[in-house]
Amino acid sequence: MLKKAIRTHEFIIFLILVALSLVVGIINPAFFSVSTLFDTLRASIVYFIMSFGVLPLMIAGGVDISFVAIAAMTSYTTHMFLLKLGYEGGTLLYFFIAGAMGLLAGLLMGFLVTRFNLPVFNVSLALYTMWYGFNLFFIGATANFDLPQGTVGYYARFLVTAKDPYVGQTGLHVSIIYAVVVGVFVWWLLKYTIIGRGLFAIGGNKEVAIRSGFNVNFIWMVAFALMGVLSAIAGVTQGFLSRYFNPVLFITQPLDVLAGIILGGASITGGRGTVIGTALGVLLIQIINRALILTGIPVQWQKLVVGIILVVFTSIPAIRAQRARRLRRTTEAA
């Protein structure tokens, strides 16, 4: 059992995370601090939420990049709308309105994919462009820094606080709870529901999934709706954490998020992927970001490093398969 756990993809990613942290910590001891831990987690929260939303789609074999645009569209539109109304309340209404919009955006995409049997990636490419265009054309083209009274202090609302020798008072933001709740929910959905198993089934062999009696279109719709809602939550959370709402939020990030999911062991062709792996993949990318800053390596190196790790990781299954084939031959020949 233990031996099996050690051979999993998640464990390898975890080892890389630990090794990387050790190296960075030795070069710059400032890395081993509570504040680094809290900051890394804070920066990861929205990526956790978004990637947990995209993971079920990828397991079913659909590659989406429009989630970032949904995050931007729902959060920015909600903010500008409430600002016009003179809303001064708390964050909750933001999540509800944006969440509902995200749900609709997800269902729209699901409708296009299931009704017309279109490839997910093509639809998402169109919607990615469309939602950003919608923001810039109808809502506004500049970032907005005016927050309602009830949400101003939210960026510094901490779950736990600690004293850090380097930076003084530091805290872990409460929205980490959202990421954890979402993660547990998606994990449960994938492992313990017929919908979740259906996602794996569709990603494994769509024809057989249909023949076996999975309600394939319904399962797709659920996955798209979930992606839409979680993207909206991530967009709003990002707005409050950074204290401004941006019409082109995350516009350069969709591939970084997908990279995290793939690093975490999900297959772009579907059928494979875990919540734990995805979380570790997202964390790894965040730590690489930080590590390069703390060790004084130019930031430009970040993309190169992530790229190299991705190349290595995407080749691992192929190398393993080759070795397994050779081993099988040898045992038969022995």
């Binding site: 017929i194 198993r197 794996f200 494994g204 059928g271 099988r328 031959r329 038969e332 020949a333």
Partner: protein, 504 residues
């Protein structure tokens, strides 16, 4: 007399202007293994789809367990206990054995939440039904075809099947696995299930059938107990002609001539060890052995796809180095792969382009442009020469039947006039009629002076084409036979003996 579980009476089915089935009746009885035999296009697939509810017949009646159906839906067929095991086994490659077995039951229960203990329990019960033991948490794609087939059978049993239809079930199996499958089938028969075994491998039909039904061109031409039926009779009913294989003339080989291909001590670690042989012009040399005996690796190695780790290769007396497919092609070696769909053809591309792809540099003009007229003329020549049955060379290859597709693969390599042609399972999945023609073609090629290395585990095929046969076992050449020194039965026994040695 056993109980009739299913009677399909006077079934006719047309697709557009094509008559797929013409007034055909079929009875399936409890505790009986009925073999349905026919060439590609004979209507056997249509019949399977009609009795499983996928197609609605234009005319005729279906009676199952005494219920009368004019039109049968797939759901009704399943409720009546009809289960079809297709060639792809209909499994999820990325899920575990347990989940694959249990998935239908889970879906049928209508529950939305998965209880993994229940999944495991269903899987255990399923395995117990055929006394199989498979690792429950293994991912299905890591299992061999035989195990995946067992899972498909278990799924059918768990769905309360009374009639199990197996569509070409032995295609992906080795000899040993086929025997294991037959044991399972006989076991199911003992328990009163009806098996409809659909195949065109006549030696298997001989072995397993209680009753044999043969279709030809949409008509039933034979329906009788297996006793007293022999392979030539079945082949006659299948093809409508006498396939005379006894009077085959073999090309004479000049024994004193220097060998075309000589291999010395060729070794690929994990594949084969210390393989040496000679191949002369005009000679057909068979290489046989079980899956995993190294035969396919040897072929791929000579073709440069899996370059050997040690050993020497000589062509026409000169030593050559083959490190890549390009090297092999340059030295005049051609290769017809085992899996023509995946490795041998561009299915969506025109037949003509598939044939000329290996010759493409011959049609280059100045500026690197292609001379399309010469190219299509060359393709037409090969289509005629090899009698590929198609209205036009511009149609995609996937419109052809298996036998004709195989001709296109052959044409592609023969067109280059290689000195040595390696054929890996050239008639796998090809019906009897085309098979005989492909054998004739192999003999013709040898007549023209090519040296042919034929990798196959089809013993009659080896006996009808090869001058010599090498038997591989555990990566080494275990025996060498001259065709005239051995009989089919003896060769079969050698092959099975190899199986028992390896399974230890």
């Amino acid at each position: 007399m056993a109980e009739d579980l299913l009677r399909a009476e006077h079934i006719s089915k047309r697709f557009g202007g094509v008559v797929a089935l013409d007034d055909v009746s079929l009875t399936i009885r409890a505790g009986e293994i009925c073999c349905l035999v026919g060439e590609n296009g004979s209507g056997k697939s249509t019949m399977i789809k009609i009795i499983s509810g996928v197609y609605t017949p234009d005319e005729g009646d279906i009676y199952i367990n005494g219920h009368h159906y004019k039109r049968l839906t797939p759901i009704e067929a399943i409720h009546e206990g009809i289960q079809v095991i297709y060639q792809d086994f209909s499994l999820f490659p990325n899920l575990t054995v347990a989940e694959n077995i249990a998935i239908n039951e889970l879906l049928a229960s209508g529950k939305q939440v998965v209880d993994w203990k229940e999944v495991e329990q269903i899987a255990r019960e399923g395995l117990a039904r055929i006394n199989a033991s498979l690792p429950l948490d293994a991912v299905v794609e890591t299992l061999p075809a035989a195990d995946r087939q067992l899972i498909a059978i278990i799924k059918a049993l768990l769905a309360n099947a009374r009639i199990i239809i197996m569509d070409e079930p032995t295609t992906a199996l080795t000899q040993r696995e086929i025997q294991a499958l037959f044991n399972v089938i006989r076991e199911l028969k003992q328990r009163g299930l009806a098996i409809l075994f659909v195949s065109h491998k006549l030696n298997e039909v001989m072995e397993i059938a209680d009753r044999t039904v043969i279709f030809r061109n949409g008509k039933k031409v034979l329906d009788q107990g297996a006793a007293g039926l022999d392979i030539p009779t079945m082949a006659y009913y299948m093809t409508g002609r006498r396939l005379d294989t006894s009077a085959v003339t073999f090309e004479k080989i000049d024994e004193t001539a220097p060998p075309l291909l000589r291999v010395e001590g060729l070794t690929l670690h994990g594949g084969f060890y210390d393989v040496s042989f000679e191949l002369k012009a005009h000679e057909v040399l068979g290489v046989t052995g079980l899956l995993g005996s190294g035969r396919t690796e040897l072929a791929l190695s000579l073709f440069g796809a899996l370059p050997a780790d040690a050993g020497r290769i000589f062509i026409e007396g000169k030593e050559v180095v083959i490190r890549s497919i390009t090297d092999a092609v340059a030295h005049g070696i051609g290769y017809v792969p085992e899996d023509r769909i995946r490795e041998g053809l561009f299915l969506d591309q025109p037949i003509a382009d598939n044939i000329t792809v290996t010759l493409i540099e011959r049609f280059l003009r100045r500026l690197g442009l292609l001379d399309l007229r010469t190219k299509s003329a060359e393709a037409e020549r090969w289509i005629r020469h090899l009698e590929v049955k198609t209205p036009s060379g511009e149609l995609p290859v996937k419109t052809l039947s298996g036998g004709n597709q195989q001709r296109v693969v052959l044409a592609k390599w023969i067109a280059r006039s290689p000195k040595v042609l390696i054929l890996n399972g050239p008639t796998v999945g090809v019906d009897v009629g085309s098979k005989v023609e492909i054998h004739e073609l192999i003999r013709q090629l040898a007549h023209q002076g090519m040296g042919i290395l034929l990798i196959s585990d089809d013993i009659p095929e080896l006996m009808q084409t090869c001058h010599r046969i090498l038997l591989m076992r555990a990566g080494r050449i275990a025996r060498e036979f001259r065709r005239e020194e051995i009989t089919e039965q003896a060769l079969n026994a050698e092959l099975v003996a190899a199986a028992t040695v390896e399974s230890r």
